[in-house]
Symmetry: C2
Subunit: 481 residues, 2 copies
């Protein structure tokens, strides 16, 4: 096929549409070895378009339909169809976001979106960048904080600096561990502070930990507050943490990758109160808000810091003798060289819906989660992990009939711990529901239902999910475990 | 629009097709401020589908058509239409590549592709991962090397290690500087070794530098060899560097982001001889081979190293009590958490074309570059930077008539330095050609034409590009500079 012959894209549209009909199952689970047997994945010999079409259809048959309301396995799900449209255009226009000359409009769009998002989060004079995911956004925060405190780190490295310490809650995202390794801090320098039952960092424990590290002669550099923990959806007390940061002169980063979408709701954005005091923060519109993967935003309060910290001034790319205003060549702020135009899909969603449309979706999402919480609270056999809704996460156990009314001791909990994944297995194998489960701290394996903008679940769908959990839960017998 | 209503995708297909007709210009350049005036980018208020369609069309009108043969501004260009089909499917299926359960087929496809690519590069027992771009792939290499030499770095950080030194050529990609900063080495510990005229690292200079750093008590950790430098397309003598690495026990990384696509050609792959001795390497199929942005592969010789170095064992995601073989949950090898299924678009290209189809495209690309070199060598007014073709990069100056036959002194070269960007400006403003220019070492600003698989240029197109350069070159007068 010639480079300009994009006729196969017609097939793609048809294939995608066919896979979105209601009767297509969520998942046709096969074990890895079985799947390897079924599929023709060999690439050494080429095939014609008819054969390729057949192969692709088979691949998609066995792929998970993440757009279905029964896909509740992760903190993302269906995509906003406008966002998907933007993603397709971005792919078709194959553009790297580093210089104005190759990405004139997309550069302006990124600037526009960032300005609006900075304004919403109450950091109107800040700066930002789109990054390939929340983990890399966390890296950006740590690099910015370290550079601000010790600008010589860029040339001299971390070796001659004091021992730098990072504080985060025990419920926070694991990417901070990967960042501590990669960026040279070492994971031993990540202090994981205890949380309360709801998953919020304990402020007094945080302060004690800071004092302890200072007493050891270490330098507290960075506090990572979380607005929406991965499992419980906890939002740390951002104002209290900001006070601590101010008192001890520590950088405040807010990981709002999950909960940041609540900023879109006029009703619920007060849950993020204090975020406007952050030195840096991250938000992933590809999670709750349904932008196609990946769409992650890193924001920083100090205007020129991203450029100062990250620029390498490559002369083949960021020439200063260009014929236009090179302040619009924004790529040297990035740790990447080539960079996808992730801002465009978010722009499409926002342009189509406006602030008010997104506000409505955020409110609906929270309303559905509240409804789900209420239903579970009152339904026999279901037990909530906690009753307070922070983000649209609802966490609970299913207790099969044979276990109810029994003595709730360690052995009983050990059984729950084994039953939860078994129920998940049955739900998956029967294609009823893909749901997340995990242990957390002293909590044994439980389920997490997290709701997103797309698709908005309704009451009937929630009840069906719970019915399915109950049905599969009642299939579990002790000798299966 | 409801989440399941993907009707706007029909518009997208039409819009994309309309923007690919021959009479659509490469670029309608406007300066940033002018463009801001023209476009309606405001997102605070939503618009209906008709208005959105209009806005999108206007955005695309002013966007660069990177699929045109006259887009020669970067090391990427048009996309493989099969790759684009794969990218669209990947977006529509919105899947993160971390666990088998959410990405069953895509996981197997990534494994399949990596195995094939490892085999091609002569590292059949190695491991690999898709990363968001060549810069991050470079980070992976440095992290792997450091962890292999000092596994305690993961917990303890870089602070208690000896001073680690990195070696690279002066023509190598700037991402190594960003990596040195982010990863805590410091850019002062990047030793930039001189190259020969063709852009290849000088082996004796490299060895002298290693000895010098050792004498200072520093630890030479990592040599970055380049297979396809950004500007000249130089391929370092990989075997000679591998010998040095062996002698001094230093990690060999090969940055083959650009030149790695030559592995697809049975004829030209010998240019990469020695790459099979690398400890790690990177290749960006999104550059020469035309996979849509981004598609970058990092490979490492030691099988379990990626997992050991990068794993954080998040219990909510990589549970060990799942009902399937969790060895297929490959995400903990990655520095990212959510990760796009970039392997799929490459799989589509490869499945459609097979090894032989890609071999043919690579050969055609090199043939076009050779032809271009020959034409330029023999054309008056054009002066090659060097006559040796390594990758399909052709670098040259245009010397306007008024400068020919004059005394070639520093002043003459200063004028060339100013003329080159002026010609580029005229080419861009008239939408004839977008071409890269840069200075390099002692070379004053020159042009780079780099050829890619899509679209394959023909002789007529090459001659037209050179005619356009000549015409614009003759418009330049000294008082314009």
């Amino acid at each position: 096929m010639d480079s300009n012959d994009i006729s196969f894209l017609d097939n793609v549209l048809d294939i995608v549409k066919a896979e979105r009909t209601d009767d297509v199952p969520l998942i046709r689970f096969k074990h890895p070895k079985e799947l390897e047997e079924i599929l023709d994945l060999d690439i050494s010999k080429g095939v014609d378009d008819v054969q390729l079409d057949k192969c692709v259809k088979q691949i998609l048959e066995y792929s998970v339909k993440t757009h279905k309301p029964t896909f509740k396995n992760q903190l993302y799900g269906g995509t906003d169809p406008y966002g998907l449209s933007g993603a397709w255009i971005a792919e078709a226009f194959n553009t790297s976001q580093y210089t104005f000359e190759v990405a004139p409009v997309f550069t302006l769009i990124e600037i526009k979106i960032l300005k609006h998002v900075l304004y919403l989060f109450g950091i109107p004079d800040g700066d930002g960048i789109f990054s390939p995911g929340g983990s890399i956004s966390m890296f950006y925060g740590l690099v910015a904080a370290r550079y601000k405190a010790f600008p010589e780190v860029k040339r001299k490295g971390i070796r001659n600096l004091p021992e730098l310490v990072i504080f985060t809650s025990e419920d926070s995202h694991y990417s901070i561990q990967k960042a501590a390794h990669w960026l040279g801090f070492g994971t031993d320098n990540v202090m994981r502070i205890k949380t309360n039952e709801c998953g919020q960092i304990l402020i007094n424990e945080l302060e004690i930990a800071i004092q302890k590290e200072q007493a050891k002669g270490k330098h507290p550099l960075f506090i990572n507050a979380t607005a929406g923990t991965t499992v419980l959806g906890a939002i740390d007390d951002l104002n209290a943490i900001a006070d601590v940061c101010q008192k001890y002169k520590i950088w405040l980063h807010v990981d709002a990758c999950w909960g940041g979408s609540l900023i879109l709701s006029e009703t619920y954005r007060q849950k993020l109160s204090g975020v406007e005091r952050a030195d840096s923060m991250s938000w992933n519109p590809h999670k709750m808000a349904g932008a196609p993967l990946q769409c992650s935003i890193f924001l920083v309060r100090e205007k020129n810091l991203l450029h100062e910290a990250n620029s390498a001034s490559a002369q083949y790319l960021f020439q200063q003798d260009k014929f236009y205003d090179v302040n619009y060549d924004t790529g040297d702020k990035s740790v990447q060289c080539g960079r996808k135009i992730d801002a465009f899909k978010l722009w499409m969603m926002w342009k189509a819906r406006g602030d008010s449309g997104l506000d409505q979706l955020a409110n609906q999402t929270m309303a559905v989660a509240e409804l789900c919480l209420e239903i579970i609270k009152n339904r026999e056999g279901f037990k909530l992990v906690n009753e307070r809704l922070q983000c649209p996460n609802v966490c609970f156990w299913y207790i099969p009939k044979f276990m109810r009314g029994k003595n709730v001791d360690e052995k009983w909990w050990d059984l729950v711990h084994k039953i939860t994944p078994k129920i998940k297995e049955l739900l998956t194998l029967s294609s009823r529901l893909m749901i997340a489960y995990t242990p957390l701290r002293h909590y044994k394996n439980f389920f997490r239902l997290a709701f997103t903008f797309h698709p908005i679940a309704n009451e009937q769908q929630i009840v069906e999910m719970l019915n399915d959990i109950e049905e599969c839960g009642e299939m579990v017998t002790p000798n299966m475990l």
